[in-house]
């Protein structure tokens, strides 16, 4: 019959072996994860570097000088003039009673003067 002492020793031995084995597996896994992490960090650094270079390129492509040239070649639009920007409240609504009654003013010297001023 196995004595208690032997049983305890055997148990200790088994537990210790398991722990050691477990630890080795853990170590291996951590090693693998560490390698993976290193690789990911390296990839991130490369990506960050590439993004940085791309940003610089994008900045270079967006220089006003180049955009002006492109706009001139491809868009039939001129620079916006100050008088082209108006307040929303200046928009004439048909049902608005206070809107300028052009019918009465059209043809008047004041109206002509106004139009002339804004066309200059």
């Amino acid at each position: 019959m196995i004595s208690t002492k032997t049983a305890v020793t055997a148990l200790w031995f088994t537990v210790t072996s398991f722990i050691i084995f477990g630890c080795f597996i853990l170590k291996n896994q951590v090693h693998e994860l560490e390698t993976e992490l290193k690789k990911i960090n390296q990839n991130i650094s490369t990506d960050v570097r590439n993004i940085h270079v791309l940003k610089a390129e994008w900045g270079r492509l967006n220089t006003p000088e180049r955009l002006r040239k492109l706009a001139f070649e491809h868009i039939a639009l001129d620079k916006i003039r100050a008088e082209q920007i108006i307040n929303y409240s200046a928009l004439p609504f048909e049902n608005e009673s206070s809107s300028v009654d052009l019918a009465s003013t059209k043809g008047s010297s004041e109206y002509k003067k106004l139009i002339k001023t804004h066309r200059d």
Binding site: S45, G59, E83, N87, T105
Partner: protein
Amino acid sequence: MLQVGFSKRKNNSYDFKNQRSMSLQNSLFEETYSAGALEICRKRVNIAIALFFAVYAVIAVRVFMVCLPHGIEIKLPEDETQQREILIKAPISRADIVDRNGVVIATSLPTVDLYANPKKIQDAKDAAEKLSFVFPDMKYDDLYAKLTKKTSFVMLKHDLSPAKQSEVNALGIPALEFLTSEKRVYLHDNLFAHVLGYTNVDNVGQAGIEKFMHKRLTESTKPLELTVDLGIQDTIRQELLAAIEKFSAEGASAVLMDINTGEVISMVSLPDFNPNINIPLGDKALFNFTTLGTYEPGSVFKTFNTALGLESGKVKVTDKFDATKPITIQRRKISDFHGENRWLTVGEILIYSSNIGSVQLVSRVGRKDQRKFLENLGFFAPLTDFEIPEKAKPLFQSQKNWTDITMATVAYGHGISVTPMHIITAFSALMNGGIYHAPTLIKSSVKKPSKRVISERTSEQMRPLLRDVVLYGSGKKAEVKGYEVAGKTGTAEKAVNGGYAKRRVTNSFLSAFPASNPKYALLVIIDEPKATKETWGFITSGWNAAPTAGKIISEIAPQLGLKANFDLQAQRAHIKAMQ
């Protein structure tokens, strides 16, 4: 001692003959030693157990240590941003520079430098030949001389492109090595030349922001945010280039400032240079007129003269001054260019840019107060805190030599030389309600110290006076519908050999807009403009600097998000007419 204990047991077991005598001895022995020996035994066993435990503990710890990966350090970051910073390291060591909207205007690109160890080189002739083939800009003789030097390090070429690096690698010369490096790149070439400055091959700032902020740019990789605006800077530069061409001018400069903060939104000085290309020192293009160019500002200074009069309390807006005839001070005759030859109000002195009127006005205040006022506006000190190193000290007479004639000439902007940056900074204070903000190029949440230099009332009085200059005076060509430009022209003859050159002028137009609630100040300077058909032979500021400023304002005001203050009725009529 232990042996004694064991011998006792031995005697008890095996020596039967002398059992009696032994038992006597034993009893004696037991009486004497048994208690002590047992105690000793127990202690020794305990020590042995402890030792075994210690050994096993060491082994156990060691087993765990072996099982854990080497060099693992568990550092818990304090917050998420720190964690991100640990993971993502900036690819460059010199921080980017961005404009007020976050657009990158200066950055560094990772590159490699090529160097050689001549001691390791086997065939210098062959290596020099191959390298000169890869780099056509490098001469064989120079390369050979470098490769035969008795040293272990010789720099061959900075900033190789990846293609060139691979070509050098393909040569298979073991003595050639690469150093990781970075190259400063200015994405918009000339556009911010005088703002940014440039760096040398070792990435050390040599001028502009690059020099002044070198420490900040190398200590942190966080982008440095400036107050300048890319779009506005470009618009202003384009208009100045057009003006140079139109008036065959020697140069042109402009500064746009936010009058409520002192932030410089645009700073252009032409001619300029491309900081990506090495420019020989002493080149005219390296001169930043806006901060280095001390010049006699001429009539734009009448603005400060008028403010001085109003602020002193000795002059009222409605006061009239005798400008009927030239005045003589210390045997020097002061007259007007196209004089009105009548009594002029304070407003008219500005509208007609009367020298006589300005002198009459300042005479009422006195030279002591004039000096104090100008000193308070910062005209006697360099702009120490402004974030570029190229700064000039204003030139002016000492207190001892500040005589009546100095007082008189300074009233209309002669006899004192200041930089455009001084003028616009002081002018901003006149327009914003009287608070002087030191000019700045760095966007910061920490506000720079400011001080009150004139009363709010004087500031309010100045605005319509300058608005009238644009509506009825010399600044008419600067008018932009809806943006209420207020300003003052200035034509200053250039000082040459102790006198003034007649047809060589530095023209300025100092303005603020919109006059009813000024937000921005703009100073446009054109250096030596020539007369054209369009200007009817005139070279005065109203014919070149003022229209240039007008054009600039009409383009930048919408960009700055300013609403045009049009007459509602007129706007509606205009819309109807377009339909």
